[in-house]
Point group: C2
Chain length 277, copies 2
C-alpha cells in the first residue's frame, strides 16, 4: 500500500525536531477522519492548472525540460500539443518516455512547502475517437491552441501515466500507482477552499473554536484558525495554554459537490456544539 500520506523520511541525518518541532499533543477527543490519498492529491493538483514542465530525452539522451500547456482526460491522462519544430516535440517523436511536473500555483512563502506532482509515463499519439477527444480537451484547456492545434507541425500526445510521485510540502509526500491515479477523483471543493478559509476565519472564529475543543483534541483551546480544507475535513491552527498546535477534523461525510464546504462546516459546528453541551 503506497497510496497514503507518510511522514518525512526518518533517516534524514538530523534530529527530526529540527524539521518538525514538537507541539502540544491532544488531551481530548479527536476525529481526524479520512485524508486525500496521494492519487487524489495528484488528481487535484493536475485539475488545478493547465501549465506544467515536461521532461523528455534529447537526441543524445540528455534530460530536457520545457514549459508546456496541458489538458486532462477523464482518467487524468495529460494531453499535450507540441510542435515538431520545438526540441520537446522532436524529443517525443524519437523517444516517447516523458514526465510531467505540475506545481501548485505559487502563493508566496517557501516554494518547497507547496504541492507538486510528477507524472511519469510514455507519450502516445491518440488515434480514432481518442484523437478528437484529446484535441477538444486541449483546445478547451488552452483556447489559443484553436489557432495552431491543426497546424501540420503540431502533434497531440496523451501521456499514459505509469508512475506518480506527489509532494505536498515538507513532510508530506507519497507515491501512487497508475491504477490508483486513474481511478481517483480531483477534490470537488478545491476551487472553493481559498474563499471558504477566508470566510471561516473572518466570520466564524467562534465555530472554529468549538470544533477545536470538541473534536480537535484541545478542550482548552483559546482560539482556532482555519489553515486548510478539503472534501474530507478541515485543518486548524489552535492556540492552547500549552502552546500552539495543529488539528485536523474530519467531516461526517466526504463532500461530493464543489459548493459543499458550507454545509459540511455548518454540520460540524452543530455537532461540536452538541458534543460540548
Amino acid at each position: 500500500m503506497t497510496d497514503t500520506a507518510t511522514s518525512f523520511p526518518t533517516d534524514h541525518a538530523a534530529p527530526a525536531e529540527v524539521l518538525n518541532p514538537p507541539m502540544p499533543e491532544p488531551i481530548g477527543p479527536t476525529h481526524e477522519g479520512r485524508r486525500r490519498s496521494a492519487a487524489e492529491e495528484a488528481r487535484t493538483l493536475v485539475a488545478q492548472t493547465n501549465v506544467a514542465t515536461l521532461a523528455t530525452l534529447s537526441e543524445d539522451g540528455h534530460p530536457w525540460g520545457s514549459l508546456v500547456s496541458y489538458a486532462t482526460l477523464a482518467d487524468g491522462s495529460p494531453v499535450l500539443c507540441v510542435s515538431l519544430l520545438a526540441e520537446h516535440g522532436r524529443n517525443l517523436r524519437a523517444d516517447q518516455r516523458a514526465s510531467l511536473v505540475v506545481a501548485e500555483p505559487a502563493r508566496g512563502g517557501d516554494p518547497l512547502n507547496s504541492g507538486r506532482v510528477t507524472l511519469a509515463g510514455v507519450a502516445q499519439r491518440p488515434t480514432g475517437t481518442l484523437e478528437a477527444t484529446a484535441r477538444d480537451a486541449y483546445v478547451q484547456a488552452h483556447p489559443p491552441a484553436r489557432l495552431y492545434a491543426g497546424f501540420g507541425d503540431f502533434s497531440l500526445w496523451v501521456l499514459r501515466v505509469d508512475r506518480v510521485r506527489w509532494v505536498g510540502g515538507y513532510g508530506r509526500m507519497d507515491s501512487a500507482d497508475a491504477a490508483s491515479y486513474r481511478a481517483a477523483e480531483p477534490d470537488p471543493v478545491q476551487g472553493q477552499t481559498a474563499y471558504a478559509i477566508a470566510h471561516l476565519n473572518a466570520d466564524h472564529a467562534d465555530a472554529l473554536l468549538l470544533m477545536a475543543r470538541a473534536f480537535g483534541g484541545h478542550p482548552d483551546a483559546l482560539s482556532a484558525t482555519c489553515t486548510g480544507a478539503d472534501r474530507y475535513g478541515i485543518e486548524l491552527r489552535v492556540v492552547t495554554p500549552r502552546g500552539e498546535t495543529r488539528a485536523r477534523i474530519g467531516f461526517a461525510e466526504p463532500i461530493v459537490e464543489p459548493d459543499g464546504l458550507r454545509g459540511a462546516t455548518v454540520e460540524l459546528t452543530r455537532r461540536s456544539r452538541a458534543a460540548l453541551a
Copy 2:
C-alpha cells in the same frame, strides 16, 4: 551568431498572419535600439525567482522532472541542494546530466506567451572555496535551507550550463551558448518594470504619445500605452488612424542601475519633444 532574438519559425504549416496578424507599418522615424540578447533574457529570468523544475535521468533512463529551489552564482550557474532520499538526488548521484527550467512568475493570461528558459548541462559537486560560496548562495536564496543544507543526505550541486534555450513567448525564442550566458548580465531594471509601466500609463500618457510620434514610426499616433520596458528601451502599443500597432523605442544609453528607468524615460521624453518641435 545564435544569440539574437529571431521571429517565429517561418516553416509552421500555417499562414504566418494567423499567429502574427498584420499591423500598420511605421510611416515616420523609428529608433528601436538594442534588444536584450537571448543570453541576457536567460540571465534576467534566472535572476527573477528561486524555484525551477529540474529534469534528471532515472535509473532506467526515464526523464524525471521535479520541483527544486535554486540559487545563482555570479556567472549564472545554478546551485541546487537536493536530498539523496529524493528521486532527483539519487538520479544526480548516478548521472549528472540535467536541465533546469525557469519560468517567469505567472501573470495570468496565456502561460505559453510568457518567458521561460531551459539551462542544460552537467551537475558537479562543488569543492574547495566554491563549496562555501555555493552553500552561502543557496541559503541566501532559500533561507529554510539553513535548517537542512548541512544534513548528511543533502548535497550541493552546481549546474555547469552547456546550452541555453530561451522562449520569450509566441514568436520570441532563441538559443545562447554557454560563454554568452556566463558573460551576460541580468537586466538591472527588471525588478522595477512593473511599477514603472503602471506609473507611465497612469501619469505620463502624454509623454508616451510624444515618444510614439517622434521615434515610434507613427507621427499620426492618437494614443500610446507602455507594454514593456527593459534596460535598452520601452515597448508601446500605439493607436493610429490606420489601426493599432506596436513600437519599440530604444533609450539613448543602456541603463546600468536598478532605478534608472525614470531618468531614461525623462530623457527620451525630452528628446521626443525636441524632435517634434
